[in-house]
Amino acid sequence: MIAERWINWIVLLGFVVLPLWALFADEPFTITLATRAVILALAAVGLNIALGIGGLVSLGHAVFFGLGGYAMGILAHHAQTYAPLELGPLVIEGTKSMPIIWVTALVTSALAALVIGLLSLRTTGVYFIMITLAFGQMFFFFSISWSAYGGEDGLSIYVRNDFPGLNTLQPIQFFGLCLAVLCLALGIHSRLRTSPFGLALNAARQAPERVETVGLNPMRLKLLAFVISGALTGLSGALFADLNRFVSPTMFSWQLSGELIVLIIIGGVGRLMGPVIGAALFVALEHLLGGLTEFWLVWLGVILLLIVLFARGGIIGILTGKAGPNV
């Protein structure tokens, strides 16, 4: 069995070596694939805070992914059309600056997560899953009917947004930027998990009545986790939209929420690199099997089934011989 920290470093190293190889082998598409995996991993790392530590099975995380995407799309759209965004008396100029877009995506998603969390966390179990799904569908159908920003057809952005000091049009530079953001998110997850907050949140998942009897409020703990989780997933949405230079209602779709959960389960729920391994496998299968058959998701389903039946700790669980971070 391999120690988990070694697996973590090997996976990260893979995410450095593969794109560098692609750069020297002149395979820009591989870099784009790796970027896609990194961004999906970031979205799932966000969800993993709520799901893995807090036990919140959210089937509505596409809301935050979509909000991040539309934050980017709307700001960039107004920048490329030179028409400011008018919200009543408030006039906001569009921007092509990634840091500004990221902050907007983070704040928008966090606020949405706060409101959705306040309402959803009054329920547990299957009701929580259903209410988060309902919010997801609400945003999905709203975006379809939002004709000002493309409605069902979505919104195209002609040129990738800027980041100071980088040429983001270069695939390897944009990849490096996304990887740096992912590493930051992994650092946040790692720190949170071992902090007093992480300890209390993890206990709130396992024994909420115990958490209450030590004077803590499990719902507030879960709400903060949901907000942090939503914000990170929102940030990934902005990057995803920038990768494709396109946003559409599919970013709000419940299938996407489901895929994020699948990525985490395949990699290992609650494990630091679980979402990263899940995302890498997902993108690899999508690319390798997607070329052979349009029904490639069937094979992903088979893998998921095998893991759920025989390896509760996901791929990391198989490699470490431990079903959870401790056991």
Binding site: N202, A207, V214
Partner: protein, 249 residues
């Protein structure tokens, strides 16, 4: 007589037609162990849930250190000094023994919103947690996964978590359950010493432990307190023997 640390006044709770607690008034005074005994279904668990905030009473009040806490949540009551153990262990089973004790320390220090810095490296939290584990005799199990503990060890950990809170009053729901003869003896000695720190409201089926520990005993039958008194008074009460011990008068 000094003001009771914990007091219930005319507590009532019904579930449909079933009156689980009916006009229950009990006091817990400083330095004492007050045992609540009664047959299964007498309303002991409902009473504890009402005291700790799990159930809102239909009528009546709960006072902790002279303050009416009836409308407060479980967490708020814990913050005001109510420490409890559960009849069925409520612990984070995937976590280590130390992590469970640290949770109590985090609650006591009101540090749940610290998002940075490893909890196990916080000296004050760790010391408090380890001290509590040492006091109940399971410090050597600190790194064990809680799910791997025996039933008796989990009972000890329950008590340790409550200790980390340094409460004004303990509510202990069957702390002897599953301990075995030797473990029960050790726990009895431990609780005996603990009463000087904070009074204990003890719900227990082990009558030897109850008679050895209790300063006062209240007998609950069909949701009503039918008698309160010293061990001798309860032992000699004809009403208690008839209603609870099942003896003919």
């Amino acid at each position: 007589m000094s003001e009771p640390v914990l007091a219930t006044r005319n507590l009532k709770k019904a579930f449909g037609a079933l009156q689980a607690t009916d006009d229950v008034s009990i006091d817990l005074r400083a330095g004492e162990i007050h045992a609540i005994i009664g047959p299964n279904g007498a309303g002991k668990s409902t009473l504890i849930a009402q005291i700790c905030g799990g159930y809102r009473p239909d009528a009546g009040t709960v006072h902790l250190a002279g303050v009416d806490v009836t409308s407060l949540s479980t967490a708020e009551r814990a913050q005001r000094g109510l420490g409890r153990t559960f009849q069925i262990s409520a612990l984070a089973m995937e976590d280590t023994v130390l992590e469970n004790a640290l949770l109590g320390a985090v609650g006591h220090a009101r540090k749940p919103w610290r998002l940075w810095g490893a909890v196990e490296r916080d000296r004050s939290l760790r010391d408090r947690a380890m001290e509590a584990l040492a006091r109940v005799g399971i410090a050597d199990l600190a790194d064990q996964i809680t799910a791997n503990l025996s039933h008796g060890q989990r009972r000890q950990l329950e008590v340790a978590v409550a200790l980390t809170l340094a409460p004004k009053a303990f509510i202990m729901d069957e702390p002897m359950a599953g301990l075995g003869a030797e473990g029960s003896k050790v726990m009895t000695t431990f609780l005996d010493g603990l009463r000087s720190e904070a009074p204990i409201l003890l719900v227990e089926h082990d009558m030897d432990a109850v008679f050895a520990l209790a300063d006062r005993i209240s007998v609950l039958v069909y949701g009503r307190v039918i008698a309160t008194g010293s061990v001798e008074e309860i032992r000699n009460s004809r009403e208690v023997r008839e209603a609870y011990l099942g003896e003919e008068a």
